[in-house]
C-alpha cells in the first residue's frame, strides 16, 4: 500500500529487506547470464569464490570496501542534513592532492609517524575545502548543491590533470605521476601488520586504512546521534524550519555538514595513495564517489549499514573481476551491469519487496 507505510519489525526493515533486494537483483542477473549462454550457478560460484575464496581475494574485497565505506559515509552525513552531495568523487580526488602535497613536502624531513597523520589531515582538509565551495554557494547564494557538486567533479578532474602534467610530475617521467613517496610515509599493508602478530596472509592492496574507515564509521555514528551538532544537523535534514526555531544557524550547519562529508571522502585518498600507490597518480578515485551514493542508500544512512553495504559492493567489485577473468562470455561490462542491477534494486527499487514483507510480517509487528 502506498499511502501509509505500515511499520515492519526493525530486523526485517534493516536486515531482511536489503537481503531480499540483493537476492532479487541476483535473480535477474542469473537470467541474463543464462541468456548470454553461460551457466548462472557456475557464475555465482565463481563470483563468490572470487570475492572470498582465498585470503588474497578477501584482501581485495576489503580493500575495495574501505573506499566504499569512506564515500558511503560522506554521502550519508550530507544526506542526514538534507543535502545531496554528488561530489564525493571530486572531493576524494582533491583530498588526494592535499595528501600528495603533504607527503611530497614532508616525507624527506619528518618520520613516518608524523608524516602519515599530517597527510591524513591534509586529505581530509582538502576534501572538506572542495566540498565547502559548493556548500558556500548553496548557503549564501542559493545555487543548488546537486548541480554544483556534479560540476565540481569535472573541475577537480581538470585541475588534477593540470597539476599532474605541469607541476607535480616527477622530473624525467613520461607518465603523469609524482615521484614515489618515501617508504616511511606508507600506511602499512595488512599483510605486514598481521605479520607483526605472526599471522600470515597473502599479499593484497588491503592496508590499515581499513581501520581508519571503521573508526570513521564509529565517529560518524557518535557525531550524528550523540552530539548536539549531530542533533542539529539531523533536525535541519528533516525540517529546516524546526532547526531554525531551535536556534541552529542553517548556513553554518550546511557548511559543517558538507565539510565533514568532503573530509570523509578524502579518506579514499589515504587508502589509495598512502596505502597502495605510494605516489600521487591520476584517476585513483574513479567511480568510488558515485558508488558511495548506492552504498549510503543501501546502508540506510546508518554507519553499520554502510559498512555492510560497502562489504557487499567490495565483494561485487572483486568477485566480478574474477568472474570476467574466468568466463570469457562474461565481460568486464557485464560485471558493471551486475553492479548496476544491485544498485537499482537496493537503491531505486528499495521498497519493491515491502508489500510482500508486510503481508508476511506486519501482523506480528
Amino acid at each position: 500500500m502506498s499511502t501509509a507505510p505500515r511499520p515492519l519489525p526493525g530486523w526485517v526493515e534493516i536486515g531482511l529487506m536489503p537481503l531480499v533486494n540483493v537476492a532479487l537483483a541476483f535473480l535477474l542477473v542469473g537470467l541474463i547470464v543464462e541468456l548470454i549462454g553461460a551457466d548462472p550457478l557456475q557464475a555465482l560460484k565463481l563470483l563468490v569464490l572470487g570475492a572470498v575464496g582465498s585470503s588474497e581475494s578477501i584482501g581485495y574485497t576489503l580493500y575495495y570496501a574501505t573506499n566504499f565505506i569512506f564515500t558511503g559515509l560522506a554521502v550519508a552525513v550530507a544526506f542526514h542534513a538534507g543535502l545531496f552531495n554528488i561530489g564525493g568523487e571530486g572531493q576524494a580526488y582533491i583530498g588526494g592532492l592535499g595528501c600528495g602535497l603533504a607527503v611530497l613536502a614532508l616525507d624527506r624531513y619528518l618520520p613516518g609517524l608524523l608524516t602519515i597523520p599530517l597527510a591524513i589531515l591534509a586529505s581530509a582538509a582538502f576534501g572538506a575545502a572542495w566540498a565547502a565551495i559548493p556548500a558556500w554557494m548553496q548557503a549564501w547564494r542559493g545555487s543548488h548543491i546537486v548541480i554544483t557538486t556534479i560540476m565540481f567533479n569535472f573541475v577537480a578532474s581538470a585541475l588534477m590533470v593540470y597539476m599532474m602534467v605541469n607541476v607535480l610530475i616527477a622530473p624525467g617521467s613520461m607518465t603523469p605521476q609524482s615521484r614515489g613517496f618515501e617508504a616511511s610515509a606508507a600506511v602499512p599493508s595488512m599483510q605486514a601488520a598481521l605479520q607483526w602478530f605472526g599471522i600470515a596472509v597473502a599479499r593484497s592492496p588491503l592496508n590499515l586504512s581499513l581501520l581508519l574507515a571503521l573508526l570513521s564509521s564509529a565517529g560518524v555514528w557518535i557525531f550524528l546521534w550523540h552530539t548536539p551538532w549531530g542533533y542539529g544537523l539531523r533536525t535541519m535534514g528533516h525540517n529546516p524550519e524546526a532547526a531554525l526555531y531551535a536556534g541552529t544557524n542553517l548556513k553554518r550547519m550546511t557548511m559543517l555538514a558538507m565539510c565533514l562529508s568532503g573530509a570523509l571522502a578524502g579518506g579514499v585518498a589515504v587508502n589509495e595513495l598512502l596505502g597502495v600507490h605510494h605516489r600521487l597518480v591520476l584517476d585513483f578515485a574513479a567511480g568510488y564517489g558515485f558508488t558511495g551514493i548506492a552504498v549510503a542508500l543501501m546502508g540506510r544512512g546508518h554507519p553499520l549499514g554502510i559498512v555492510l553495504a560497502a562489504l557487499l559492493f567490495g565483494a561485487l567489485q572483486q568477485g566480478g573481476a574474477e568472474l570476467a577473468f574466468e568466463v570469457p562470455a562474461i565481460t568486464r561490462e557485464m560485471v558493471v551491469v551486475i553492479q548496476g542491477l544491485v544498485i537499482l534494486f537496493s537503491g531505486a527499487l528499495v521498497h519493491l519487496p515491502r508489500p510482500w514483507l508486510q503481508a508476511l510480517f506486519a501482523r506480528k509487528g
Partner: protein, 511 residues
C-alpha cells in the same frame, strides 16, 4: 443500489487496532445514519483519528467488521474507500500549491491522456457542485493565493468531485478563524441537507452543539457514550470525555506586575515581497502578567511572534528583551533569545515545534540540546534525555508515556502538550505562546491555561497569540488587538468582551 432500506451509511462492529503495545481502538461498534452529521469527541489520544483512518483505509483494523451502506467491505487502501464513496479531509491539506483549483481537483482523476477534456468536464462539474452545495471557489485561482478557509473548501470539493457520499473531517476548524469556521459549519449543513453523510471530529463543543445531529464520545479507545445532540449539553459532554467535571472558567488573582521583560518600540517588518507585514508596533510585557494578542489570523500575529523569538529579523524599530537591546543592527537569533530566557511555543507545531521523525525524547530537548543536563563534554546524554522526557510527560500528562516513541506517533493534542511542557519546564523569563490550545482536548485546555496562569503568578512574562477570543479573554490581563500589521487598540481584560473585541478587529480594518 441494493439494500436502500438500510439507513446506516456506516456500521462498525468490534473494531480493534493496536500500535505495538498501545491499543488505540478497542471494540468499537457504532452506526452512522445516512444524511446526518455525526460528531466524534474525546480526549487527545482517545483514538478518533485512528478510527477514521481505519474507515478511510489508511490503517487496517486488527479485528472487526466495516459495513458501508449495508454491505460488508474490506478496506485496504484509500482507493477502496473512495470507491465506496468515502472521502476524508485531512487536517493538513494535501494540495499542490502552485496548481490552480481546477488542476488540483482533477489530480489523480485526470480522465484521459490529454488534460483539456478532463479540465473542461471538471469545470462543468465544479460549477454544478458550487451551485448545489454553495461551495463557491474560483476554479482558476492558484491554491497558494487562497486563504486557509478557501483551501479547505477546495479539499471538500475534491472529495465531492470523486463522488463521495460520506465525508469525514478530522479537526477541520483547528486552522480556521472563527469566521471561517462559521462558513464551514454552514457548508456542512447544506451538504447534509443534500443527503451527504458527515462525520466531524472536533474538540470544540460549540461546533458539536451547533451543527451535529448525534455525538459519539470516545475515551481511551472505546466508545463510552452516544447522545442525540439536542438532548445533551457542553457540560455533560465534557464530563463524559474526561471522566470528571471540567471547569470552563476559573478565577485568577489580579496580576502583580514587575519590571518590563519585553519592550517593543516602533517594530516593523517588510517581507520578501516588500509587503509591510508589521507596522510601527509598540508595546510591553511585564513580569507577572499575561498579554493577549487578538486578531483575525493573517494580520501579522505570526510574524510578530517570529520576530520576538528571533526567527526573523525586524527591518525597523527596536526590541528590548530581558534587558538586552535587539534591532536590525544587533539581531539575536533564536539560540541567543533562549539564552536570554525566552521560551517559544510556535503556532505551527508540526512545521516548527517538532521533528516528526525524531523520538519524543529528542523532541523534548529541541532548542536545548546543548544544555545541561542533556549534554556534557560535547556528548548528548541519552539516558538523561529519556528521563527528562518522562518527567515532562508525567507533569503534562502526555500519553502514551513512552519517550522512545516517534513524535509522529503521538496524537495531535499530545504533541502540543509535549511542546508546551518543553518550553514551560525551564522556567523562562519571557514565554511566547502561539495558539496554546490548538487541537487539544478540553481537559487539557483547562490544564494548559492553569499552567500558563501559574507561570504568570511565578513571575514569568507571558505573551499569548490566539485566534480564539474566548481563550484570550479567559487568560489575558491586558489585550492588544492587531489588524493589518498594526496594533489598533488595547483594553484591560476586565473591560473586554467578545463583541467589543470583534468590533475592534473588524472596525479598524474598515477604516
Amino acid at each position: 443500489m441494493q439494500e436502500l432500506t438500510s439507513d446506516a451509511a456506516i456500521e462498525l462492529r468490534g473494531i480493534d487496532k493496536s500500535f505495538g503495545s498501545v491499543q488505540a481502538v478497542r471494540g468499537v461498534s457504532l452506526r452512522i445514519e445516512r444524511g446526518s452529521i455525526t460528531g466524534i469527541v474525546g480526549e487527545n489520544g482517545a483514538g478518533k483519528s485512528t478510527l477514521m483512518s481505519i474507515l478511510y483505509g489508511l490503517y487496517r483494523a486488527d479485528a472487526g467488521e466495516i459495513r458501508v451502506e449495508g454491505r460488508p467491505v474490506e478496506m485496504t487502501s484509500p482507493r477502496d474507500a473512495i470507491g465506496r464513496g468515502i472521502g476524508m479531509v485531512h487536517q493538513h491539506f494535501m494540495l499542490v500549491d502552485s496548481f490552480t483549483v481546477l488542476e488540483n481537483l482533477i489530480l489523480g482523476a485526470e480522465g484521459g491522456p490529454l488534460l483539456a477534456g478532463g479540465l473542461a468536464a471538471a469545470r462543468a462539474e465544479l460549477a454544478r457542485l458550487a451551485q448545489d452545495y454553495g461551495l463557491a471557489v474560483d476554479p482558476d485561482a492558484r491554491v497558494s493565493d487562497l486563504s486557509v478557509g478557501e483551501q479547505q473548501r477546495v479539499e471538500i470539493l475534491k472529495v465531492l468531485f470523486r463522488g463521495a457520499r460520506i465525508l469525514i473531517l478530522d479537526e477541520p476548524s483547528a486552522v480556521l478563524t472563527p469566521q471561517e469556521t462559521n462558513r464551514l459549519l454552514q457548508i456542512l449543513r447544506v451538504l447534509r441537507d443534500r443527503g451527504v453523510t458527515v462525520v466531524l471530529i472536533t474538540h470544540k463543543l460549540r461546533e458539536i452543539l451547533s451543527v451535529t445531529d448525534r455525538v459519539i464520545v470516545m475515551r481511551r479507545g472505546e466508545v463510552v457514550a452516544e447522545r442525540a445532540t439536542s438532548k445533551t449539553s457542553a457540560e455533560e459532554l465534557a464530563e463524559l470525555m474526561v471522566g470528571r467535571k471540567v471547569r470552563f472558567s476559573f478565577d485568577k488573582a489580579p496580576a502583580r506586575t514587575g519590571e518590563p521583560r519585553l519592550v517593543a518600540r516602533g517594530l516593523s517588518l517588510v517581507d520578501d515581497r516588500l509587503v509591510r507585514v508589521l507596522d510601527d508596533i509598540s508595546f510591553e510585557v511585564r513580569a507577572g502578567e499575561i498579554v493577549g494578542i487578538a486578531g483575525v489570523s493573517g494580520n501579522g500575529q505570526s510574524e510578530l511572534l517570529q520576530v520576538l523569538a528571533g526567527i526573523r529579523r525586524p527591518t525597523g524599530g527596536a526590541l528590548e528583551v530581558c534587558g538586552r537591546k535587539v534591532d536590525a543592527a544587533h539581531p539575536a537569533d533564536p539560540a541567543e533569545m533562549r539564552e536570554l530566557g525566552v521560551a517559544h511555543v510556535p503556532e505551527d507545531r508540526l512545521r516548527q515545534g517538532l521533528v516528526p521523525a525524531f523520538l519524543a525524547s529528542e523532541t523534548s530537548i529541541l532548542g536545548y540540546q546543548d544544555r545541561e543536563p542533556f549534554c556534557h563534554n560535547y556528548l548528548l546524554d541519552g539516558p538523561a534525555v529519556g528521563k527528562y522526557c518522562a518527567e515532562l510527560m508525567d507533569r503534562f500528562d502526555v500519553r502514551p508515556r513512552t519517550p522512545g516513541l516517534l513524535s509522529s506517533s503521538f496524537s495531535g493534542g499530545n504533541q502540543q502538550k509535549l511542546i508546551l511542557a518543553r518550553e514551560m519546564a525551564r522556567h523562562p523569563r519571557l514565554l511566547l505562546v502561539g495558539q496554546p490550545t490548538r487541537g487539544v482536548d478540553i481537559g487539557a485546555i483547562e490544564f494548559i491555561r492553569r499552567e500558563l496562569i501559574a507561570s504568570r503568578d511565578a513571575g514569568c512574562a507571558v505573551l499569548v497569540v490566539s485566534v480564539e477570543l474566548e481563550e484570550i479573554l479567559s487568560l489575558a490581563d491586558r489585550i492588544l488587538v492587531m489588524s493589518g500589521g498594526r496594533i489598533v487598540g488595547e483594553v484591560a481584560a476586565a473591560d473586554a468582551d467578545e463583541r467589543t473585541l470583534g468590533l475592534m478587529m473588524t472596525g479598524a480594518r474598515a477604516a
